[in-house]
Structures are given as structure tokens and as C-alpha cells.
Amino acid sequence: MMKSWSHMVQAPKKNRYRWLIYLALAAVYIWAFAGVPFTGFKETAVQITKAIMTGILAPDWDFVYLPEGEDLLRGLLETLAISILGTFISTLICIPFAFWAAVNMSGSKVVSGSGKMALSFVRAVPEIIMALMFIKAVGPGSFAGVLALGLHSIGMLGKLFADEIENMDKGPVEALVATGANRLQMLWFAVIPQVLPGFLSYTLYRFEINMRSATILGVIGAGGIGTPLIFALSTRNWDRVGIILLGIVVLITIIDILSGAIRKRLV
């Protein structure tokens, strides 16, 4: 008997409970949309959008540099300073946390698990909330912003650093143990040289993120370019909003390009 090759290709079997998933999704979306009060837009919405657009296209160039201060350049410089210092503080503090959370350094799963838990809790509190707290402690100003960024970044940097330590090659450590090195020598000659490029690269990556965060800290009074922006928004000075937005976009783009180029050479 000849074998027939011409048979229909079967369509893959569908999950019988597929419709249940769709139903649940539909229910979630109905719940979500029903809860949002759609009251229509303000009549002025189009007008203000136009004003901001013309503000961006024809910015208030005089604001770039004012001799008496409170200008764009100084605001951007302060933003940069906040994120540099914040990143530096968090890098210093997160290193012990990273060794605590790395399972091959702390030795036991329980210890490293507790470290990872602590880091994820720190990560979960938004920097802007931390800034609100620090404003209560050290008063409004860019120092509160520095501390907020420094504390919040520990969460992410600590986790990335711990991953980097866990992924390192065991060979050099064992070689040093065989030569009778003590723990400090082991750390200095076997661990640090392996993890340093990764640490630096992650630090720069976090610096890029902190630049973005630093631009919003001013919204609640923690320094940086956000303060003049909120002021310009509330006084409806759209030209100024335009130039500040432009300044933020240009600064962050430059930082991203620079930091990306350095990171590419590091790893």
C-alpha cells in the first residue's frame, strides 16, 4: 500500500481554559476604565499645549545665564552635582551590603538571603519619598536630594554588585588560598581585580539613572533643576518651561553618550 503524504496539517490544540483568561483580562480592563473619572479636558488644554510647544521652539534664551544666579546653567550644574555625590555615597555604602548578599562571600544561603531581602526593601522605597523624609531631617535643599539618591541607589547597586561577585571565577581565590594568603590578601588580589570593571560599569549605569531622578527632586524642594521648572509651570511661564525642558534633554543625552562610551571600554 502506498503511503499517502497528503494529509492536513493539524492546527495546534488550544488551551481549553483560554477563554477564562480572556474573560479575566476583560474584567480587569472594565474595572480599570470604569474607575477613571473621564470628565473631559480643560478648555485651555489646547492653548497651553500650543504655548509650551512655542516655548520649546522659541525658548527663553536669556534664562540660560543670569548674572545674579538661579539660571538654567546653575540649575543643571546642581542637578549634576546631586547625582554625582548621590552615586558616590551609594557606591561606598553598598559594597559591604553586596558582600553580605553574595552567597559565595557570606558563606550561607540564609545570610545572603537576608542581605538580598534588605536590598530589595531599600529598592522598593521611591527616591522621592526618601527625599521627603530627608527634607524633614536636614531641611529643604540639594543636600536632602543627595542623601535620598545615595540611600535609594544602594538597593539596586548592592544587588548588581552582589550578582557580579557571585559570577566571578573561583580560580584566583583558590590559588591564593593555596599560597597561604590571609582573607584580606585574598580580597585584594583575587576578588577586587575581578569585580572592579563590573562595579565601575554598574556605578556609571546608576549614575545615568540618578541624573534622571535628580531632575525631579526639585519638584518637592530637594534641589536641582526641578525647582525652577515647577516654579515656571506654576507661574505659567511657558517660554521658561521650554528652555528648561530643552536643557534637561540635552544634559541627559550628553551624560548618556559619555557614560555609555566609558562603559563600553570598561567591560
Binding site: E78, A81, F121
Partner: protein
Amino acid sequence: MSAGAELKRPKAPSKLKHYLTAAIVVLLLWGSSIQTDATLGELIEGFPNMFDLLREMFPPKWTYLDNIVGAMLDTIRMALIGTTLGAIMAIPVALLCAGNLMAQWWLRYPVRFVLNLIRTIPDLLLAAIFVAIFGLGPLPGIFALSIFALGLIAKLTYEALEGIDRGPLEAMTATGANGIQRIVFAVIPQISAHFMSFTLYTFEINVRAAAVLGLVGAGGIGHYYEITLGFLEYDKTSVIIIFTLSIVLLIDYASSKLRGKLL
């Protein structure tokens, strides 16, 4: 013995570059601390205040939970709608950006440039601007989140699109399929799981972002931080923080489990 003298020791690599880098870093830090008026003394002075604050935050006033559950649900709604709108807008944008599907470079590069610009603006700033345009309420928050989601999902998706297998595309071309058919039968099956995963990931980020948008008047639970901190009711603030944390961690956990199943 004399042979040993001829075998010169290799020179250590120059350390000048490292010294220069260290000098630049120190200079940057020094300049930054002047610019921000950051002094250790101020920190030590402020430290007792921090502890006072923490002491006043505990024990949390759990009865306040009743007041903020509604706002928390609003926050999740905002994140959900914002992410969905952003994901829908991201589909055509990602297709425009993918080099292997869109041959017209003069269309591709400007769109990518605009995407990069969008991603430089933090969501809280977008929200502040949208509040100025549309007025207070969750609507400007949703718009801000959807613009942010558009930037992120479109970038991740177009990078994934450029990595797809060319085989099915060529097979479709060989059978004479048109552009739409190529996308529906050769691109979407390869990319849909990634796209869902990116969307879920963005949803996780947006839930965190939505929780603070209220600080600029864009709806959600963030508004309650200002109320409680303004009235110095720190025991209520700690309830908000703990509640938000647990919801965020819960959503993160569920979403990352789902993403693990998708891929």
C-alpha cells in the same frame, strides 16, 4: 649570574592614566559637594531629626488603611491603563524603527531619535507638565505613564524585532505574501511573547511610578504623602509606605512569575 642581569624585568604598565582618573573623580566630588552645600556636619546635625522622624513613624496607625485603599486601587488602574495605551502605541512605532522590516532609513532614524528624547524625560516631569495642561486628576498621570511606556516598550520591542529569525520572513516573501501578511504570519508569532513580557515589565515600573505621581497632583496614592506629612502625621505616612511597598512587591512577584512562563 650575568645572564640574569640581561634578562630585564618587564616594566610595570604606566599608572598615569589611573592617577589622572582618580584626580578627575576627586575633583568632580569636591566640586559637587561645594555646589550642593553637602557637609558632614550638617548630616550629623540632622541625624537626630531622622531618628525622631523614625520614632514618630512607629507604631503605624493601621486604621488609616481604610482611607487609602481606594487611592491605591486608583494607582493600579492608572498604571494598567497607562501601560496598555503605551503598549498599543508602541506597536507601530517599533515596526517603524526595526531596520529589518522598515527599509526607509529616513523614516527610521528620526523616529528612533524621538524615542530617545522621550526616554530622557522622567515620568514625574511629564506628569507635572500634563497637570499644567489638563488640570489635576488621574488623567494627566495616565498620559504621562503611557508616554513613558511608549518610549520603553517601543525601544525594547524594536531591538527584539531586529533579532528575529529571517527564515519565516523569506518564506512568506517566496509565497508572494504582501507586507501585512508578512507581519501577521512571520513577525507576530516570533515577537508576541517578548512583547507581552516587555509590557508586564513596564507595568511593574509604572506601578512604582504611579505611586508617587500624586505628589505633582496627577492622582493616585502619592497625594496622601503630602497630606499626612503636611499635618506631621508620620504614623499615617508609615502606613502608606508599608502598604505601597507590599502592593509593589506583590505585583512584582506575580508579574515576574508570569514573565518567566511567557519566555
